[in-house]
């Protein structure tokens, strides 16, 4: 009998919990303002976003909740769509906008901010993606560490050619910094960020990609490929982790770079969010990847708009919510508090002409100066989804010394030849 009682109590507890949950739900929706949800995929600004949401709610009466997930963005959003519970605003990468926009995003062509940016994303002739910031890739340097050894001011412009760069590395090595470089072994860095520069720096990017698909491209005799790989070999030669290059942990490399144990590592301005966890040098920045070329590409970084907001188009999002989401985007671009949030709190390089950026971190200052001078080579946003993983694996073998340059070229060519072109 006692056990029956227990069972009954449990059942009662279940029911109670059900009603309790129901209660909390209605309580949440009772405020008179609209509620919108934001999906943030930039982990380093999650805390800032949450703080901003609170302030924004207080100031406008619109209830904002910010979410983050460390699942793959596509996987996470897939579950949200399957459960008919999409975010009002989702921040995703360009490639995700291309795959999601047709079914899930509303047309933002009529918005005021479209005039103020060069980086808005359009699909099918309609603007759908709101660029959150400008990011660029290049060679991160620690000027203080270099100057300490060379004794003279470090001017990144002086090292645009690989020859000059090699000369500097020799000098550093002779001066006591025996291994002045670091290499990120992650596949998204090797293939997604570095290898893609080979495509992005071609004269006719689309034509080059098509020739890769058709199997007619010849990497081994391609000037850009060889230029980039010559640079990479130099980096490998001076890599602090040369003996176990593919075990180098990003955290460790970033710390060494920040604290001046090494002087150079390929990366982007997002790396600041890791560097600033350590005792970093102030005199840091990003410079173009050195290359012996006269085409001017060694004076430019690669980058552009990064991370895009789109607004959900399904019936699960009401007109009021959509309007509130549009208002929020306008707030980011046209309100002083919104500007301050983007540039001062999140330290993002603004993608809008009207936003002046003060107080940026050293890497973002570099990126902004290149962007303002028109010295950014565009990102190629149509890489197939498995490119970073499969080409990254091959590149890791090269980094580990288990494959030579010709072998890597063949692997990359074979990858492209066996992959269907991305629909656009």
């Amino acid at each position: 009998m006692k056990k029956k009682l227990l069972a009954a109590t449990l059942a009662a507890a279940m029911t109670a919990s059900l009603t309790a949950c129901g209660g909390s739900d209605s309580a949440q929706e009772k405020g008179d303002g609209v509620s919108i949800t934001i999906f943030n995929s930039k982990i380093e600004v999650q805390a800032q976003f949450e703080e901003m949401a609170k302030e924004y709610s207080e100031a406008t009466g619109v209830n904002v909740e910010v979410y983050y997930s460390n699942d793959t963005v596509a996987a996470h959003l897939a579950t949200r769509y399957s459960s008919n519970d999409p975010y009002t605003l989702s921040m995703v990468d360009a490639k995700d906008v291309y795959s999601l926009a047709e079914d899930h995003a509303i047309d933002l062509s009529g918005e005021k901010w479209v005039e103020n940016t060069n980086y808005a994303l359009s699909v099918g002739g309609k603007v759908v993606g709101f660029p959150v910031c400008v990011e660029a890739r290049g060679l991160i340097y620690n000027g203080d560490a270099i100057e300490k050894i060379t004794g003279e001011a470090f001017n990144p412009e002086d090292y645009a050619t690989l020859d000059a760069f090699q000369g500097l590395l020799e000098k550093l090595a002779a001066g006591g910094m025996e291994t002045p470089t670091g290499i990120m072994k992650e596949d998204w860095s090797l293939a997604g960020h570095f290898l893609s520069e080979v495509y992005e720096m071609q004269d006719d990017v689309d034509g080059f990609i098509t020739s890769l698909h058709e199997g007619t491209a010849d990497l081994a005799n391609n000037a850009k490929w060889n230029g980039k790989m010559d640079y990479f070999d130099t980096m490998m030669k001076y890599n602090y982790a040369a003996s176990s290059a593919i075990a180098a942990e990003r955290e460790v490399s970033e710390q060494k770079l920040a604290e001046g144990e090494i002087a150079f590592m390929f990366g982007g301005n997002w790396d600041w969010s890791m560097i600033n966890a350590y005792e970093y040098s102030e005199n840091m920045g990003i410079m173009p990847v050195p290359e012996n070329t006269s085409d001017g590409s060694n004076k430019k970084l690669v980058g552009g708009g990064s991370k895009y907001f789109f607004i959900d188009s399904s019936e699960n999002t009401s007109e009021e919510q959509r309007q509130a989401a549009k208002d929020f985007l306008n707030w980011l671009v046209f309100d002083e508090a919104g500007n301050a949030f983007l540039t001062e709190k999140c330290a993002l390089v603004p993608a809008y002409k009207n936003i002046a950026a003060a107080g940026l971190d050293p890497l973002s200052v570099s990126v902004k100066s290149y962007a303002d001078a028109g010295n950014l080579i565009d990102n190629y946003n149509y890489l197939p989804d498995d490119h970073f993983s499969l080409c990254g694996a091959a590149f890791q073998k090269y980094l580990a010394g288990q494959m030579d340059r010709a072998g890597l070229a063949k692997e990359v060519e074979a990858y492209w030849a066996s992959t269907a072109p991305v629909e656009r």
Partner: protein
């Protein structure tokens, strides 16, 4: 006399070997925890630069704990986790032990079919069910974002394994003769189950309780699909901001790990006694 002495000496040596082996294995098992405890009191820079130092260059710090607690909203996550774990575990034990009983004691087709399906279901990779499940429960029924839904699903997923364990226990540890005696005394099957069988299952209940509670407490994927609202977050979902593809804040991971581990460790230590008690006192020889 001599033979006895020899036996006693052998026993002593035997004992010494066992103890040594135990201690060596114990050190291996506990080594990562030692590292966690050493490093959780260091700043991020110190962890990265020297993971083995007892005290980092910047000295001893408690900073990782309050930061982790704040970022994961510890109080709220803890209550959510505890509520969900307790309810799910209790319901799983209740229903699975009953089911195991009817399956073991009856040779019916339905029983065989159910057990067969359950065993087979244990090897379904969760990825197969993930999207269909959210499509059905979210898209069609619209019941996601309730703690009760998560409890329901936890129970559904863990029933198979728990039933399987009770199945083994009832089969080997509960003598049919006892039940027959109860039936002769006029007990219905229901009464027999609750008064005779269930109390004999103490050790298995404790085992299932600790194993399921652990699973529920630490589960990440299922709760992350069911609970998409911040105020419902459990501890594992709340800690996801500490690690990811691009960076891992190992200090916060370690702090969160210790915070999350304590309650379940206490539960284990409490139940451990019952596991022993259950076996030694419950058995009828």
């Amino acid at each position: 006399m001599n033979a006895n002495e020899q036996a006693a000496r052998n026993k002593k040596i035997n004992h010494a070997i066992k103890i040594t082996l135990l201690i060596v294995l114990f050190v291996c098992f506990i080594f990562p925890f030692v590292l966690v405890v050493i490093n959780v009191f260091k700043s991020k820079a110190d962890i990265t630069s020297n993971p083995l130092a007892l005290v980092g260059a910047h000295g001893f710090t408690l900073g990782n704990f309050p930061e982790a607690m704040k970022k994961m909203n510890f109080g709220r996550s803890f209550i959510n986790s505890a509520f969900i774990t307790i309810c799910s575990t209790a319901l799983t034990i209740l229903f699975s032990s009953m089911t195991a009983f009817v399956i073991v004691r009856n040779n019916w087709k339905a029983c065989g079919a159910l057990l067969g399906m359950m065993i087979a279901s244990m090897v379904i990779p969760f990825q197969v069910l993930m999207i269909p499940m959210v499509s059905l429960y979210g898209g069609i029924l619209g019941v996601l974002n309730h703690r009760a839904t998560l409890i329901f699903m936890h129970v559904g997923f863990s029933l198979s394994m728990a039933t399987f364990m009770f199945h083994g226990a009832i089969k080997t540890n509960v003598p049919v003769a006892l039940e027959e005696a109860a039936t002769i005394d006029g007990c219905t099957r229901w009464q027999t189950y609750w008064m005779i069988v269930f109390p004999l299952l103490k050790s298995t209940i404790a085992t299932v309780a600790i194993i399921d509670a652990m699973g529920f407490w630490n589960d990440y994927l299922l709760p992350s699909l069911v609970l998409a609202k911040k105020e419902l977050y459990t501890i594992p979902i709340a800690t996801q901001v500490f690690y990811g593809t691009y960076s891992t804040d190992i200090g916060l991971v370690m702090a969160a790990l210790l915070l999350a581990m304590l309650p379940i460790l206490i539960l284990y230590l409490l139940l451990q006694r019952y596991i022993v008690d259950g076996v030694t006192s419950g058995a009828v020889k």
